[in-house]
Amino acid sequence: MKPRVLVVDDDSALAEMLGIVLRADGFEPAFVPDGNRAVTAFRESKPDIVLLDLMLPGLSGLDVCRAIRAESGVPIIMLTAKSDTVDIVLGLESGADDYVVKPFKPKELVARMRARLRHHDDIASESLTIGPPESPVSIDVPGHQVRRDGAPIALTPLEFDLLVALARKPRQVFTREVLLEQVWGYRHAADTRLVNVHVQRLRSKVERDPEKPEIVLTVRGVGYKAGPP
């Protein structure tokens, strides 16, 4: 089955062009030109992935992003014309998994989309446990379930991938570049802000005290590693 893509963009030429490129690459695109109708369109089309322009008439891209994130963990890739840190970090903090800066190359966009859709082909039963012994976090990889003290924790697929990547090699320190490649599918080191923001989002969900992390530890000057099992 072709993966469904919801394209939220007010520029009709760009939307049409995106349609041509996405169809050629085996996606099934749906379009919505303004922010107000985006959430309804999202509920109706149930896409596998969302491409979201940040500057929209009506509800802003950030608000749409938050609204979708509130009800679903579906991958969201921002299309942004602004490469300033503030805009990107704001977008990531409101729930976007990844971003591409206009003007992007279609191959780059498709590669990112595929990287975000990839996690569906996980194999075999695998169960991981990390964190402090008195209150560990257990991960059921094929079931996409994360539990702490028996209570399930809702993570987006990206946060789940990030946690699994760290938990699979508990003693290894991952640089931000390595995480970008493994989780986001970036070939060349690009933007470590992506990692920083998502580690913070992940911590806010899995840590008992995000200020004193036990699950995802920072290794100063290098990167991150999983807490001891």
Binding site: L14, I20, A24, A81, K82, S83, P103, K105, A189, T192
Partner: protein, 568 residues
């Protein structure tokens, strides 16, 4: 010495003192440690007092240089003191002179009137008639004494050098200055100040002595009138005291006035200085409270106007900067969205160029490559406009500089092989930890290495990393055509081209080095160029270990060691 020592040693030892042990009077030698301790205490005391004296001196110097009020007060004190001293001395001198002059003329008048009868009494006497002389002198004395009222009380002393021994009781032996007696003995009248025996208790005091000779038949009589000056001295002393007290009072009064006046001026000036410091510190809303319309008030008004205009200007600039930021962001968005569509359309065409006729296929290729250039140029323009708007922000992180350098070198391997050129790296073995914004530093190095490959004429490009305690440096050296004299100053200019005829494989926008320079500056670092015709060029990037630390020197030389020989 011996007496003191047992007591001293007993005190030090804490044993009963010598007085408790009268038998134990054996002389003890002073213990060296006691002496040393004493010396140390003395040295310490000396050092402490010296230090405190120096400290006090410094404090005074500081107060002197910092307090206008103190300076004005002290200066006023000194100047008015000098003036009052001169005026006082002059006044006392004039009064003294006046008093003495009056006394003297009164005394001389007195003497003149008294001398007539004295000449009559003594003129006919002869020393042979001892009794006659004695009687004449005695009566003269009593007569003169009775007359002496106008110029105050006085005593009369009559001497006669030629008088026989029998008359010695009649004449007086009051001391009279020899200068005066000398004059009178020669038969001349004279006046002199000197010390005389006062009438009351016979002690010596200041006086005016008028001497007159009387030539009798028997010989020369010397008559001296002794006017005591005690009253005059008292008057003068009183005047001196009064002038001194009045002068002191006046000086203090003037100093106090100076302090009060300067306080009126200095107070508002201090307020102005404090307010100016706050304004300089960034609080532009600070104003001085202005009262009245005097000069100080005008100063305050002018200051407030300046602050208001400053605030206005800065607000205007902030507004402009905000607009500029908005503009940059808007242009970016407006340009980038259509460019994305074009880009995608071009990609689709480019991917299908095999199906096209040769002209169409070539057109698709040109469209694709020129779009790349256009994109890079747009990105660079936006980046530099961000610097111009002052909105570029540093996102520093602790990073091993070697990893950044390796990444850039690896990314340029393909380009290097296209130039048939080799990139040689000299990296330290230990990690070079430094606080940098990796994205910006990578961009600088990418620019420098791309540049070196472009101008390296196929000869090796050398990238070296060096570090010191507070700075790190990267040099990128090529052995190409180099720079003409003076060109090192231009290479960072926007759109500057060293040699317009040279082909450029990297397709630089002409903004790369300008952006790199801004990136380096944002880190508080240096980016410098060196080059020599035919020898090559070297760029050196120096960064502080920690953002915000000042740089004093670079761990690597700007001019490469292998080039030094060729220049000398």
């Amino acid at each position: 010495m011996i007496e003191n020592v047992p007591v001293a040693s007993a005190d030090v030892d804490g044993t009963p003192s010598a007085s408790d042990r009268p038998l134990d009077r054996a002389p003890l030698r002073p213990r060296p440690d006691t002496l040393a301790a004493t010396a140390a205490v003395l040295a310490g005391w000396w050092a402490t007092s010296r230090r405190s004296a120096i400290r006090a001196g410094r404090a005074t110097a500081r107060a002197w240089s910092q307090s206008l009020q103190l300076r004005v007060a002290v200066t006023t004190l000194i100047v008015s003191g000098a003036v009052v001293l001169i005026v006082g001395l002059f006044l006392v001198d004039r009064i003294t002179e006046g008093v003495l002059k009056a006394k003297r003329s009164a005394a001389i008048g007195q003497v003149d009137s008294a001398m007539t009868s004295a000449r009559m009494t003594l003129g006919d006497t002869s020393f042979a008639d001892v009794q006659g002389v004695a009687n004449a002198v005695t009566s003269l004395k009593s007569e003169l004494a009775l007359n002496g009222t106008d110029a105050g009380l006085y005593r009369v002393v009559i001497k006669a050098d030629a008088a026989p021994e029998a008359l010695s009781d009649v004449f007086d032996d009051d001391p009279v200055p020899t200068a005066l007696t000398g004059m009178v003995e020669q038969g001349r009248a004279a006046v002199q100040y000197g010390r005389i025996r006062t009438t009351r208790d016979g002690s010596l005091g200041p006086g005016l002595i008028v001497g007159e000779p009387i030539q009798s038949r028997g010989g020369l009589f010397q008559i001296y009138y002794l006017f005591p000056l005690n009253a005059e001295q008292d008057t003068i002393a009183l005047v001196q005291r009064t002038v001194l007290l009045a002068g002191l009072g006046l000086v203090l009064f003037v100093a106090m006035i100076a302090v009060l006046v300067t306080r009126q001026v200095v107070g508002p000036v201090r307020v102005a200085a404090r307010t100016a410091a706050r304004v300089a510190g960034g609080d532009l809303s600070q104003r001085i409270r202005v009262r009245g319309s005097d000069d100080i008030a005008r100063l305050g008004q002018a200051f407030n106007e300046m602050a208001a205009s400053l605030q206005q200007q800065i607000q205007r600039l902030e507004q402009l900067s905000r607009l500029q930021r908005r503009f940059t962001s808007d242009v970016s968005h407006e340009l980038r969205t259509p460019l994305t569509t074009i880009r995608m359309a071009s990609e689709v065409l480019h991917a299908r160029r095999g199906d096209f006729s040769p002209q169409l296929a070539r057109s698709a290729e040109l469209l694709q490559t020129e779009l790349d250039r256009f994109e890079t140029l747009l990105a660079d323009l936006l980046e530099i406009s961000r610097y111009d708007a002052g909105v570029a922000r540093l996102e520093p992180d602790d990073i091993d500089l070697r990893s950044v350098v390796s990444r850039v070198v690896d990314a340029n391997r393909i380009l290097a092989s296209r130039h048939c050129c080799e990139i040689v790296t000299h990296l330290p073995d230990a990690p070079v930890s430094v606080e940098i914004d990796a994205r910006r530093i990578e961009r600088i190095l990418r620019n420098l290495v791309g540049n070196a490959l472009d101008h390296g004429d196929g000869r090796p490009v050398v990238v070296s990393v060096g570090s010191s305690d507070d700075a790190v440096a990267v040099t990128v050296r090529d052995h190409g055509v180099g720079l003409r004299p003076g060109e090192a100053g231009f290479v960072f200019d926007r759109f500057w081209r060293g040699d317009p005829s040279r082909s450029r494989l990297t397709g630089g926008t002409g903004l790369g080095l300008a952006i790199s320079l801004e990136d380096a500056r944002l880190h508080g670092g240096w980016l410098e160029a060196w080059g020599e015709r035919g020898v090559g060029a070297q760029f050196r990037l120096t960064l502080p270990r920690r953002v915000g630390q000042p740089l004093s020197s670079s761990p690597l030389p700007l001019e490469p060691a292998d080039a030094l020989g060729s220049t000398s």
